[in-house]
């Protein structure tokens, strides 16, 4: 379980979080919705200790992330998979090397076993025989798939998705959403996804948290969100649905 309690964060004069509280229960996918620039991605980085909150606690499996030492943080990160907004593949490495990097560093697999695991991970994301390609040879959707393969190759307990479908066409985005659901069903991960794509959010999420002006405006299921009496939330949902057509 991941629990965030009263998170405050300022960057210079700009206060992006003004007391964020929410919980991601085991084996559920919670989607954080909100306008761009609202500090949603920062929150994901806080969960794995890349950024520290000014005030508040983040607990993963009952342990406070902000009080962890570096070796403890490394152990914690080992439990997480992270899909970055633009996949963040290592330019200087091939697709296969990108996926193999964590395996070589954190597992006792032999070289042949690593190659097999990489091929398997690429098969899962539908990119067979792509291990030799360089990231610069891939489209945006393919990069996201490789990023996903890299994130899940060590079968993490938790998965963090930062705008998993941003910048992709509808068909490719649906492919990614399908993959996220498949991974959740097969591996049984607890996931937190950040997006402003309401269509994708409703496809992958079990519960939804809406951020507004640095605070949680509402948390609930799809039905609860759609039937909310809060005028601001209704306006937000309506505008997002219209934007997506």
């Amino acid at each position: 379980m991941i629990r965030l309690e009263n998170i405050h964060k300022k960057f210079g004069e700009q206060e992006v979080h003004k007391g964020i509280t929410f919980t991601a229960r085991d084996r559920e996918t919670i989607v954080i919705l909100g306008k761009s620039g609202g500090g949603k991605s920062v929150l994901l980085k806080m969960i794995i200790g890349l950024i520290k909150p000014d005030i508040g606690t983040i607990e993963v499996d009952g342990k406070d992330v902000s009080k962890m030492t570096f070796p403890e943080l490394q152990k914690l990160r080992f439990k997480f998979g992270f899909l970055f907004q633009n996949a963040a593949l290592f330019d200087s490495m091939s697709v296969g090397e990108n996926i193999a990097l964590a395996l070589e560093r954190h597992s006792n697999y032999t070289k042949d076993e690593v190659i097999d695991r990489v091929e398997y991970a690429l098969n899962v994301v539908g990119l067979e025989n792509s291990a030799h390609k360089m990231p610069s040879q891939l489209s945006g959707g393919m990069k996201k798939r490789v990023g996903l393969a890299r994130a899940v190759v060590l079968t993490p307990k938790y998965m963090l998705y930062d705008e998993p479908t941003t910048g992709l066409d509808m068909e490719t985005a649906d492919g990614i959403n399908l993959l996220i659901n498949e991974l959740k069903n097969t591996i049984g991960m607890t996931s937190i996804a950040v997006t402003h794509d309401i269509h994708s959010a409703f496809l992958i999420g079990d519960r939804f948290t809406i951020f507004d002006k640095g605070k949680v405006r509402m948390t609930g299921t799809k039905e609860e969100i759609l039937n909310s009496n809060d005028e601001e939330i209704r306006k937000y949902i309506q505008s997002e649905i219209e934007t997506k057509g």
Partner: protein, 264 residues
């Protein structure tokens, strides 16, 4: 509308004060990165993977430019020193002057300034791009120690390879001096070689190598720091790259003076 309290104070003391705070902020963060790198040096698993490729990138690929520059520094030194000689001064002084100035000062310093542009800018651009495209965050997220993985091999490569480059450079510089002396002055080759043999001291070579080691560490660590903490997209990477070249060159000349004062 901005209120008076939100406006930036651009008075002399305010600008100096902000600059001072910024300088110490950078110095503190740089020192803490270096300390992290040194205190995690035992964790060779993190950086051994990259060390040879970095030695190749920092050292081997810089051989042509260092040799080219050193050759011409040697030629110019020979021509300039011959030009300043009075008739009654032995011609072999040209060789003596060339070897001293090349080994002690010219090859280490000028090569370092050239390499601050080539190696330093490359490292900062590469690491800055990794930072702004979240590749460094991705490394951390994969439970790597990104400083040991990225900075340590580059700084080690610079510290090891710069002295080797300077040894080659000094040798070629001396050969360049001979070529310059033959082609553009009336100093005979025998007199030049006699001057070289008569003046060469191992201690001078040690000073040159010491300078190269310090410059190698300074340039690569500064470049890594600037790239690792770059922010603000491609514009920020460009700014960081420019800062690397400026700060590296300034640091090199300051370190040059300190080493010269202490050891000569």
């Amino acid at each position: 509308m901005a209120t008076e309290s939100n406006q930036i104070d651009n008075s002399f003391f305010a600008v100096v004060g902000r600059g001072t705070v910024l300088f110490f902020e950078h110095l503190g963060r740089y020192s803490s990165s270096i300390w992290w790198m040194l205190s995690h040096a035992h964790n060779a698993k993190e950086y051994s993977r990259n060390i040879f490729s970095q030695m190749n990138q920092v050292g081997i690929s810089s051989i042509p430019i260092v040799l080219f520059v050193s050759m011409f520094i040697g030629m110019v030194s020979a021509v300039q020193s011959a030009y300043q000689l009075f008739d009654w001064i032995p011609k072999s002084v040209v060789g003596s002057f060339v070897i001293k100035s090349l080994m002690l000062e010219l090859v280490p310093l000028i090569s370092a300034i050239v390499l601050a542009g080539k190696v330093g800018a490359t490292i900062t651009a590469e690491m800055g791009t990794m930072r702004v495209t979240e590749q460094i965050d991705a490394l951390d997220a994969l439970a790597f120690d990104s400083i040991s993985f990225l900075i340590t091999p580059r700084v080690l490569a610079g510290t090891i390879m710069f002295p080797i480059l300077i040894i080659f450079g000094s040798f070629i510089g001396v050969v360049g001096g001979l070529v310059g002396a033959i082609l553009a002055t009336d100093v005979p080759a025998e007199a030049y070689i006699y001057g070289i043999k008569n003046t060469f001291e191992v201690y001078d070579a040690f000073i040159g190598i010491l300078k190269a080691t310090v410059f190698g560490f300074t340039i690569t660590s500064c470049a890594c720091y600037m790239g690792y903490y770059a922010q603000g997209g491609s514009e920020g990477v460009g700014r960081a790259t420019m800062n690397t070249v400026v700060v590296s060159c300034l640091s090199v000349v300051v370190m040059d003076f300190i080493i010269a004062s202490v050891f000569t």
